[in-house]
C-alpha cells in the first residue's frame, strides 16, 4: 500500500507537448512512473519522449488504460482540462498549473467530488511514492523509500525537507504537495486520513504556511483521529498581514491565518512543532526512534 499512487498508477500528461509537460514526463518516467499517454488537442498521433499523444483524455484512457492525470496546461484552460479528465473516468489528478482563478477551482473541486475524483493542487508539486510512482514535479533526487509521510502546502521548501529526511538516513512513504492556492482540491484534513490508513507510513511531517485555517483543521483531526505521530512546521511567522507571500493562499486576512494560530493549534493537538525547517529531519529521526518496534 501507499497513498493514492502505486505500481498500478498509469499517468496521462495533459499538456505534454509544452515545455513543462515534456520535461516532467521525462522526470516521471525516470522515477519509474508508468507514463502511458499525453494529451494535447490537435497534436494527437504524435509522440513525446516515447509517450503517445492523443487529442482527448477519453481517447488516451480508452487506448492506454490511463487512470491518473497531471495537468500542465495554462491557467485559462485548466478547468476544462480537469473536467475532461473527470468525464473520461480519471479519478486522480494533479494540477501543477499556477494562477487558476479560484472561481474555476470551486467548480473543479465540487465537480470532482460529485464524481468521486480526487484532485491535488492546483499550483502544487504533486504526489510521489518512492519506488512506486510520481505524478507531478517533485525532484526525483530528494526521495528514498521509507516510512515517513509528508504533506505540505509548499514546493521547494518541501523538496528541502524531504531531502533532509533522506540525508538523515531515513526515507519517505508518500509525499504530497497540496499547493499554495486558497482553494485546493486536497487539504490536510483530506490527506491525513489516507496516511493514517497507510500501513507504510509511521510518522507524518506536516508543512503548513500562513493563510486560511487548513492547519487549524488539521490540528483538530490530529487530536481526534490520528494515531501516528506528527512533526509540523509552519512557514510565515514573520509575514505581515494583508500581503500575499508568493502563494495566492499565503495571506493573513482579517486577523485570520497567522502562523501563531496554526502553531498553537498543532502544538495543542500533540504535534511536535519545529521552529526551523532544518530541525525537521532530526526531530523525525528522534521521534521514530521512540516508536515501539513492530
Amino acid at each position: 500500500m501507499s497513498v493514492l499512487v502505486n505500481a498500478d498508477t498509469r499517468v496521462v500528461v495533459q499538456g505534454i507537448t509544452g515545455h513543462q509537460g515534456t520535461v516532467h514526463t521525462v522526470q516521471m518516467k525516470a522515477f519509474g512512473t508508468k507514463v502511458v499517454a499525453g494529451v494535447t488537442p490537435g497534436k494527437g498521433g504524435g509522440e513525446v519522449e516515447g509517450v503517445p499523444v492523443f487529442n482527448s483524455v477519453a481517447e488516451a484512457v480508452e487506448r492506454t488504460g490511463a487512470n491518473a492525470s497531471v495537468i500542465f496546461v495554462p491557467a485559462p484552460f485548466a478547468k476544462d482540462a480537469y473536467l475532461e479528465a473527470v468525464d473520461a473516468g480519471i479519478r486522480l489528478t494533479v494540477a501543477v498549473t499556477e494562477h487558476i482563478p479560484f472561481h474555476d477551482m470551486l467548480t473543479m473541486y465540487h465537480y470532482g467530488r460529485l464524481h468521486g475524483a480526487k484532485l491535488i493542487g492546483p499550483n502544487c508539486p504533486g504526489i510521489a511514492s518512492p519506488g512506486k510512482a510520481k505524478v507531478g514535479i517533485i525532484p526525483n533526487v530528494v526521495f528514498r523509500p521509507g516510512r515517513v509521510g509528508v504533506i505540505s502546502r509548499s514546493g521547494t521548501l518541501t523538496y528541502e525537507i524531504v531531502n533532509g529526511i533522506k540525508e538523515a538516513g531515513l526515507g519517505q512513504s508518500t509525499c504530497i504537495g497540496l499547493g499554495g492556492d486558497p482553494v485546493v482540491g486536497t487539504s490536510f484534513v483530506d490527506a491525513l486520513p489516507w496516511f493514517e490508513a497507510d500501513e507504510e507510513t509511521d510518522l507524518v511531517v506536516l508543512v503548513g504556511e500562513i493563510g486560511g485555517t487548513a492547519e487549524e483543521e488539521a490540528a483538530e483531526f490530529i487530536q481526534r483521529k490520528l494515531s501516528k505521530p506528527v512533526v509540523a512546521y509552519v512557514a510565515g511567522r514573520s509575514a505581515p498581514p494583508g500581503k500575499r507571500m508568493g502563494h495566492a493562499g499565503a495571506i493573513i486576512a482579517r486577523g485570520r491565518g497567522t502562523a501563531e494560530s496554526k502553531l498553537t493549534a498543532l502544538q495543542n493537538a500533540g504535534a511536535e512543532v519545529a521552529k526551523f525547517p532544518y530541525e525537521i529531519p532530526g526531530m523525525v529521526a528522534e521521534r521514530l526512534a521512540r516508536l515501539p518496534r513492530r
Binding site: F102, V141, E160, R244
Partner: protein, 384 residues
C-alpha cells in the same frame, strides 16, 4: 488583488442593480462645486477621498457639505492628502441620505468548504473585525446551487428586515451574488448598507477582483493600485516580490522556502525588507532581472537561499553573478548566499569566485548576512 476604488465598485453595483445614493466622481474643487450647483448631487452631501485603504473617516478624508461652497472647500481640503501612502486624486460626492439603520453585507471565499460565503450583520457602519462573532451570520453558498431564496431569507431575517425593505434586500443579495461570480470577485462588501425609507442603499462599496481572473476581465488589468511601484514592476515581470519594512533583501526559490527564510532571518536578528520568490525558475535571465529589481529596493544586504530541486544551483549562481556585475560599484550591497541541492558544489564555486559569501549551511549564512547588514562600513546603506 485588484482592489477597486469605491466609485468603481459603485459603478459595478449600478450595472448589477444595487441601489446607490446619487453621486459623482470629481477631481478638482471646482468640479465638486459644480456637481452641487448643477443639481447632479443633492445637498446635504458627503465628500469622500477615493483611496483604497480603510478607515478614511477617522483620517479626515471624509467631509460633509450643505452648500456648493462647502463642497468646494471640502474637496480642496481632501485632494492631495497623503492617506496611508496613497495620494488623494479623486473624490466621490454623494447625497447624504437620512438613514434608519446601518447593516453589513459581504460575499467572500470560504477556503475550507471551497464555497462562496455570504456574511451579514445587523451591526454595520463599524469595522466588521470589531463585531462579535455571534452578531455575524455566515452562510456558505454552494456554487452549483447559487444563492438560494431560503439562504437570502435567512440573511434578511438576521438583518432584521421585513416587508418592502426585505424585498429590496432580497433583490440586492441576488445582485451581489451575480456580481461576485460574473466579475470573478474575491470580496464584495457593503459597509454600511443603509436602510433608507422602504429600501436598502449601499453607502460604501468594497470590491476586490481576483488577479488570476483578469484574463477574463481585461477592464481590470490596469487597476492594480495597491502595490508599491517596484511591486508593480515585479508583477509585470511575473516575479513574486513583496516590500516589507526591514533592510535585508531575501531571494529564495519557492514561496514556502522564501517565507521560511524570512522567519529564520528574523529569528537571528535580521530585518527582512524584500521578499523575492524566484519560483521554479533557474533561467539566468529571470534571475538577473530579479536581482536588478532587488537592487532598486536598496537593501543593506541581500540574502540568497536556494534549494536546487528542479532548479540547478549553478545556473542560479551564474545568473546572480551576471546581475551583480551590472550594478555600479557604489551601489553594490553585500550578498550572502546559501545553496543546497542540484549542482550545489558548482554553484558555490561560481559564487565564491565572484566574491560572494556562499555556503550550504542556513544558520551560518543567516548570521553572516545579519552581520553584513549591521556593519557601518556598508556604503549602500540607504534603505528606501
Amino acid at each position: 488583488m485588484v482592489k477597486l476604488a469605491e466609485w468603481r465598485g459603485k459603478e459595478l453595483f449600478r450595472t448589477y442593480g444595487v441601489p446607490l445614493p446619487r453621486g459623482k466622481v470629481v477631481r478638482s474643487p471646482g468640479e465638486a462645486r459644480a456637481a452641487i450647483e448643477d443639481g447632479e448631487v443633492p445637498v446635504p452631501a458627503v465628500v469622500k477621498a477615493q483611496v483604497l485603504a480603510g478607515g478614511r473617516g477617522k483620517g479626515g478624508a471624509v467631509r460633509f457639505a450643505t452648500t456648493a461652497e462647502e463642497a468646494e472647500s471640502a474637496a480642496a481640503a481632501i485632494l492631495g492628502l497623503e492617506f496611508k501612502g496613497e495620494k488623494v486624486k479623486e473624490l466621490l460626492i454623494e447625497e447624504k441620505l437620512a438613514l434608519q439603520r446601518e447593516l453589513y453585507v459581504a460575499l467572500a471565499l470560504d477556503r475550507s468548504r471551497r464555497v462562496p460565503l455570504l456574511m451579514v450583520s445587523a451591526q454595520g457602519g463599524v469595522e466588521i473585525e470589531g463585531v462579535g462573532e455571534e452578531a455575524i451570520l455566515r452562510i456558505p453558498v454552494h456554487p452549483f446551487a447559487g444563492l438560494a431564496a431560503y439562504e437570502r431569507r435567512a440573511a434578511i431575517a438576521a438583518l432584521g428586515l421585513s416587508g418592502p425593505t426585505a424585498r429590496s434586500a432580497d433583490q440586492l443579495l441576488g445582485a451581489l451574488w451575480d456580481l461576485f461570480n460574473r466579475e470573478d470577485a474575491e470580496l464584495v462588501e457593503i459597509n454600511p448598507l443603509a436602510v433608507v425609507g422602504d429600501g436598502v442603499v449601499a453607502l460604501d462599496a468594497k470590491v476586490i477582483i481576483e488577479d488570476d481572473a483578469t484574463f477574463r476581465h481585461p477592464q481590470y488589468a490596469d487597476l492594480r493600485d495597491d502595490r508599491t511601484p517596484l511591486e508593480e514592476i515585479a508583477r509585470e515581470k511575473e516575479i513574486a516580490f513583496v516590500q516589507l519594512d526591514g533592510d535585508i533583501g531575501v531571494i529564495a526559490n519557492g514561496a514556502g522556502l522564501t517565507m521560511a527564510t524570512l522567519d529564520v532571518l528574523k529569528e537571528f536578528g535580521g530585518d527582512p525588507g524584500v521578499f523575492l520568490d524566484l519560483g521554479g525558475t533557474d533561467d539566468p535571465k529571470k534571475v538577473t532581472e530579479a536581482f536588478l529589481l532587488m537592487a532598486e529596493a536598496h537593501p543593506r544586504a541581500v540574502f540568497l537561499n536556494i534549494f536546487g530541486g528542479v532548479t540547478r544551483c549553478d545556473t542560479v549562481a551564474r545568473g546572480l553573478v551576471d546581475a551583480r556585475r551590472q550594478i555600479p560599484e557604489t551601489e553594490r550591497f553585500p550578498l550572502v548566499a546559501r545553496i543546497r541541492g542540484n549542482n550545489e558544489a558548482e554553484g558555490l564555486a561560481i559564487l565564491r569566485a565572484a566574491g560572494v559569501t556562499a555556503q550550504n549551511d542556513l544558520k551560518e549564512a543567516v548570521r553572516a548576512v545579519v552581520a553584513a547588514a549591521r556593519a557601518p562600513a556598508n556604503a549602500a546603506g540607504t534603505p528606501r
